[in-house]
């Protein structure tokens, strides 16, 4: 019995150390504009990594490489051990059911109600047909983000914060194992930003996801990060916990923290 418990603990530890996303020395250019020069990043299971950096440094490009929206010019991106660049269409589709992506704007389908937006991945990706099951999942995830009252509203009737919540709900409804957030609090007031950051944390705990959060919002980073990496001119310049980096002597690193501390 004692051995069995020990093995379970070991398994848990191994699982926790499992690298789910492995970005290895990638670079990416658009024409003559080199956006990523040399990026390497490992995301472990259950971990929240926040990528900080000024606008136009290639943060979004990095996470778009993870889901195969963009292909790096050099280097590899492995998700659950498989190279994304070598995946065929079906493998890529399968990968995308395991990796959720929250866009900066929420990217809600504006010709559909909130309910239809949430049903879309359930019926098209998970191929669910049972009406009761679909309704249950939609209502459960909308309740989780506090938007149950807006279920039949059109995206144009929602505020910026509500759109982000609905976008998060639509991504979470397929229960992905990895979440990629592209500037989830940009354009929101400080109170709503804090609410969204806390919601990200709550959803991570509830659905046990591993996340990469792209942001330049220090409050969001403080709330959500297990580990922070700082990006500048297409490469990472510092890495550590929020509190470690806060004490850094590096001028560039300090410039991020000075605004909030």
């Amino acid at each position: 019995m004692e051995t069995a418990t020990k093995h379970t603990e070991e398994n848990k530890q191994t699982l926790k150390n499992e690298v789910v996303v492995d970005i290895d020395h990638i670079s990416k250019s658009f024409g003559t504009n080199e956006v990523l020069t040399d990026i390497s990043l490992k995301l472990k299971r259950g971990e929240n990594v926040v990528v900080l950096g000024k606008s136009g440094q290639g943060k979004s490009v990095t996470i778009q490489c993870i889901v195969g929206l963009l292909t790096p010019d050099k280097g590899t991106v492995k998700v659950f051990g498989d190279d994304v660049a070598e995946m065929d269409a079906d493998e890529l589709k399968e990968l995308r059911t395991m990796v959720g992506f929250l866009f900066q704007s929420g990217a809600l389908y504006d010709s559909m109600t909130v309910r239809d937006n949430l049903e879309f991945p359930l019926t098209r990706v998970l191929k669910l047909t049972d009406r009761a099951e679909i309704d249950k999942r939609v209502e459960e995830v909308l309740d989780g983000v506090g938007l149950l009252d807006a279920i039949d509203k059109m995206p144009s009737d929602l505020s910026g914060g509500m759109r982000k919540r609905a976008g998060l709900a639509r991504t979470m409804i397929v229960r992905p194992e990895i979440m990629l957030y592209d500037e989830p609090t940009t354009g929101l007031d400080p109170i709503t930003s804090r609410e969204i950051s806390e919601l990200i944390l709550n959803m991570q705990k509830k659905y046990k996801t591993s996340s990469i959060i792209i942001t330049h919002d220090m409050e969001c980073a403080k709330i959500t990060a297990d580990r922070v990496v700082i990006m500048n001119e297409g490469t990472y310049i510092a890495e550590g916990s929020f509190d470690e980096l806060k004490k850094s002597e590096d001028t560039l690193v300090r410039s991020f923290f000075n605004e909030t501390t």
Binding site: R96, F120, R124
Partner: protein, 258 residues
């Protein structure tokens, strides 16, 4: 200067290549499982039903104006009784399909281009793709098939309304019964007038849907690109309609009038 010409030529060739790939992906996605029937029906309603009033008014005026313009010349030649036949043949063979297709290129191709373009700008197409759904199947296949089906239907309705407009115009000055007018129209038409005209409208519809979808789906990620996609869709689709018409007339002549 020479470099600019070469770059422009290269870009043009790349554009053709991209359209070829888009065409291939469209066909591949028709036969993939899970056809989006509800979206297809919605698009048929949006494209067909919502264009009906515009097509109806345009066709009515065209029929009316053609009779008013033709009458003095025909009267001069003592061929007034040939007016229903002349209108029927010219309207059903050529004027109806081309005018209706051009009207639909303005309304439908620009609408599709702008809609997909704005979906691209607001990252909705990317969101669909990264969710594991198939945006080509949902957005492109349904729209192209809907235009390919609806433009012929709109043409049939527009032709009928155009002939009715001609009947009213004829009655401004002459007195001809409704049944006699339509008997003369129908009697003057043969299979080779109706069938090729209807077949070419399927290609017109395809061109309108394809160009609208291609321009919108491949627009850049800036707000100005939405306008560019809509504008470019109308111009290119209109041009394609004339090219297809010219080819269709040649084929019809070779097959039926030798």
């Amino acid at each position: 200067m020479a470099e600019q010409v070469i770059t422009g030529y290269k870009r043009w060739l790349e554009g053709i290549g991209e359209q070829g790939v888009f065409f291939k992906n469209f066909f591949r996605n028709i036969f993939r499982g899970g056809f989006e029937w509800s979206e297809f029906v919605r698009q048929c309603y949006e494209i067909g039903y919502r264009s009906m009033l515009l097509v109806g008014i345009t066709s009515f005026i065209m029929g009316l104006v053609l009779i008013l313009q033709l009458r003095p010349s025909m009267l001069e030649m003592g061929a007034e009784s040939m007016l229903p036949k002349t209108l029927a043949v010219s309207f059903i063979r050529e004027i109806g399909p081309v005018i209706i297709a051009i009207i639909c290129a303005g309304k439908v191709a620009s609408g599709i281009g702008a809609e997909l373009g704005s979906m691209k700008v607001t990252e909705q197409i990317d969101a669909m793709e990264v969710s594991g759904a198939n945006p080509l199947q949902y957005l492109v296949v349904t729209r192209i098939l809907a235009t390919s089906l609806m433009i012929p239907l709109l043409t049939v309705i527009g032709d009928a309304i155009g002939l009715f407009g001609g009947y009213l115009a004829l009655n401004f000055t002459d007195d001809i019964s409704f049944s006699l007018y339509f008997h003369k129209c129908i009697a003057s038409l043969e299979f080779i007038d109706l069938f090729p005209a209807l077949v070419k409208t399927v290609f017109f519809g395809f061109a309108i849907g394809f160009v609208g979808c291609y321009k919108g789906y491949n627009s850049n990620k800036g707000t100005e690109s939405v306008g560019l996609a809509a504008n470019s869709a109308v111009v290119t689709a209109s041009l394609w309609i004339f090219v297809i018409d010219a080819i269709a007339v040649q084929i019809t002549s070779l097959l039926f009038y030798r």
